[in-house]
Subunit: 188 residues, 6 copies
Amino acid sequence: MDERISWFPIAERSTLSSETQAMFAQLEAKLGFVPNVFLAFSWREERFKRWLAHFDELMKPSPGLGKAEREMISVAVSMQNHCLYCLAAHGFAVRALLKDPVKGDRVTIDYHRAGLSPRQVAMLDYAVKLTREPAACSEADVEALRGHGFCDEDIWDIAEVAAMFNFTNRLASAAGMMPNPQYHGMAR
Amino acid sequence: MDERISWFPIAERSTLSSETQAMFAQLEAKLGFVPNVFLAFSWREERFKRWLAHFDELMKPSPGLGKAEREMISVAVSMQNHCLYCLAAHGFAVRALLKDPVKGDRVTIDYHRAGLSPRQVAMLDYAVKLTREPAACSEADVEALRGHGFCDEDIWDIAEVAAMFNFTNRLASAAGMMPNPQYHGMAR
Amino acid sequence: MDERISWFPIAERSTLSSETQAMFAQLEAKLGFVPNVFLAFSWREERFKRWLAHFDELMKPSPGLGKAEREMISVAVSMQNHCLYCLAAHGFAVRALLKDPVKGDRVTIDYHRAGLSPRQVAMLDYAVKLTREPAACSEADVEALRGHGFCDEDIWDIAEVAAMFNFTNRLASAAGMMPNPQYHGMAR
Amino acid sequence: MDERISWFPIAERSTLSSETQAMFAQLEAKLGFVPNVFLAFSWREERFKRWLAHFDELMKPSPGLGKAEREMISVAVSMQNHCLYCLAAHGFAVRALLKDPVKGDRVTIDYHRAGLSPRQVAMLDYAVKLTREPAACSEADVEALRGHGFCDEDIWDIAEVAAMFNFTNRLASAAGMMPNPQYHGMAR
Amino acid sequence: MDERISWFPIAERSTLSSETQAMFAQLEAKLGFVPNVFLAFSWREERFKRWLAHFDELMKPSPGLGKAEREMISVAVSMQNHCLYCLAAHGFAVRALLKDPVKGDRVTIDYHRAGLSPRQVAMLDYAVKLTREPAACSEADVEALRGHGFCDEDIWDIAEVAAMFNFTNRLASAAGMMPNPQYHGMAR
Amino acid sequence: MDERISWFPIAERSTLSSETQAMFAQLEAKLGFVPNVFLAFSWREERFKRWLAHFDELMKPSPGLGKAEREMISVAVSMQNHCLYCLAAHGFAVRALLKDPVKGDRVTIDYHRAGLSPRQVAMLDYAVKLTREPAACSEADVEALRGHGFCDEDIWDIAEVAAMFNFTNRLASAAGMMPNPQYHGMAR
């Protein structure tokens, strides 16, 4: 693929640490490609590795907040920030994890009209509020989520995932990161 | 200090890893207190450590982007997001690093009226644009910063620091984190 | 398909005029289904027919403004208004008309990052400006489009198509219209 | 009248269809002038006729939603979009239909402070919500209007009239349409 | 007139100072009525008198900024703040001072489409900028107005009049002040 | 102090009225300096005196609304308008009047997270609403403040103080007024 994927330099793969090169090889084996965010971020390899260590830990599912729900938060936040990269890459993840491409696409475009449960809508409304007007968030919002059956760890995770995509959306937008073209067609 | 510093549980210090306990002790020796963000985040210790590893690496100065400038970005972003915790804690950092409490306070309140250089204002205008309308950022913004003498690494760092405070502002606001009262009076 | 497609009554097809019934039959033959907007709007049949007569005339291609470009305007406007129905249905149209599902999806999500020509971007920027702050549009905007090679008829059409989707987005959102599920997967 | 009424060409009346010419003559006989929107739109005569056929059908009164109420929606929407043409022309209509120039002017400027009934205010609040944030409209809004005694047909009409003025406001603003000067002084 | 003109108490005229009573009598003689803002504000008479002393001094014409221009600023600001009272009362003043009811009404509704001079539009654009995003105003704005032939005193006055109507709009809106019905029909 | 404090001319003190000169001397004796707003405004001395007469009367405490509360309103409004001058000068006043520099600083940055009483938060929420969307204020807002124990005079004063800082914020921002550097460090 010859498309330009960033407005910043791209590291030669051979210059990266063997650890990173091995991870890229694994991803190619599994997905068929290395996600462009990895290719675009790895020129600042030390920071890339530390960010990814945090990100991967954060996206691990818990009993109260599964993988699909964490990905739903990512697309709800990314739609607020109009992040092409994240909407394409995580839109795929939502479709795949829900095993329902129509519902997944609807969650990505407008989660209020996607047939989600009230608990899921409350989770996403909170992620959007935290994205749009963080200082307006209050302890009452935390209480309201408890009322939907989320425990303290879940609620913190909703907030931290939403906050994380406010980071990644901005880094992707600042760098002009282009999503791998494959994402657009996968899990359709 | 008995003030409630978070709407979420606070870890007993004795339950934290020895590594984290040692870091807290060092901070108390140096600053006189542990920053409340550390106390409030450490109940999710594994994630806290990974986030901090990324954050610390990101805030290291480089020839093109010093400590003071990284902290200026933090307060410019935090003012957009109205984050009490970050404005108090990083407002202190800006005052201390500039060794000019008046200028530091003005950068925190309104960097356009603080006597900064055009290069610094351009840096902060970009951080604010990335905060407010990330999808509107374009390669022309990157070019404009190059025109102010920033190299590619510097520009990426401006973006990544701005993105990082869009993360921390939201986590602090979501958790109701209160700044240590000392910050308000330090370096005045 | 048993999904509820509107918050308003749906006309029994047998109660509609033979003209409308024939049109629905034609669409089923061609597309495999009747677009839900037709099913949802036809309970006010007289108005539906008049609106459709206007809409169909407006979407006809001209040498200066092809079908694909008219559909690009529709998705650019619909993204501003977050209209699930129109993004699904006209997102399909853009993908199909461009014969490029990746580019079509990117135009739908963020036309600034989709590899369009400066002429096309100028067209869409104008449609978005007219959507977001119509009173700020000026004769200078018309002149600027002339500078991109659009003739007066083209420019009027850009405005009228943008205005039209400001109508349809609102009617679809007000009625809770759900897109036919097929749209999400077509031309991928 | 020599004022320039559009940034686009104006059709010579003699070149228009006899049907359109006859309509213009009727309007001159009734109002004393042809509304400038007709003069400005008729250079795209086929589309003008189709739009007008839809518009006229839509503005017909029903038992639940009278002429004055449809015009109130038009000015409430037009004030959101700051449309000079529509505020002048339909502001006149509201004054005339209410037979109360003071109340009509107040509805045009700020319907919340015009002494309207709660039912009318609810109708206009919904039209404004649909104008400003269409995707936020929900079935609960429809229910709330039912609670004010509107039937399904009325509610659809409120939405469709609001949507229609989101079309006309934009076309008028894009074309630089100037209201006939007479409108400003009529029914005062 | 029995209309309720404020959500706060109205002073009995006989309880006001003889100075204020005399002023009200003069206004009735001249205009036919006492402006409701005076009736609504005079229950806090000492403050009312001091505010009016400032206001009257501010609205005095100068060679570079006439009465009509000061009133144009008042309606441009009041339209931003959607202030019914000020739009009715000062809309009348603009119509009367311009001796052109059509132009005056257009300035009130949308000064960009009212046939004003570039100097007048620049003046009003600045007043609107100061209203909407005061901290974005810079010395470059002052320079730009100098380029339109305004002297320093004129520019200060534009700013101070704009600031003043940001005061009066808010006091009128907070108090629910209703304009005297006469205003709507005067100078039409 | 040689800092430039305004983009407009500064009156020579010897040219001001003896009354104004005496007031400046008194302020220097009391505070150690003349507030820059006085130095920057006095070149239009007649208007300055009238504005100050109104301002001083307005800021006088009453049993229901003390000095500290009036100053809290000033900083809450000034934060909305991002007014450097007023945040520095009145931020000092809040810290001094509360005799609590930490709480005062928190009220200035984010009064929702400053430990204020529900009555004080309601007061400030109203001042902010009146600042951001004055036309949305209604009699229900007045009633709600009555429910917090404010009398009519108090509520009017909250509105008038909020309105006043919408004046002063704009005049300060338009003139590029710089706060006296002393303010930043006082009452810390």
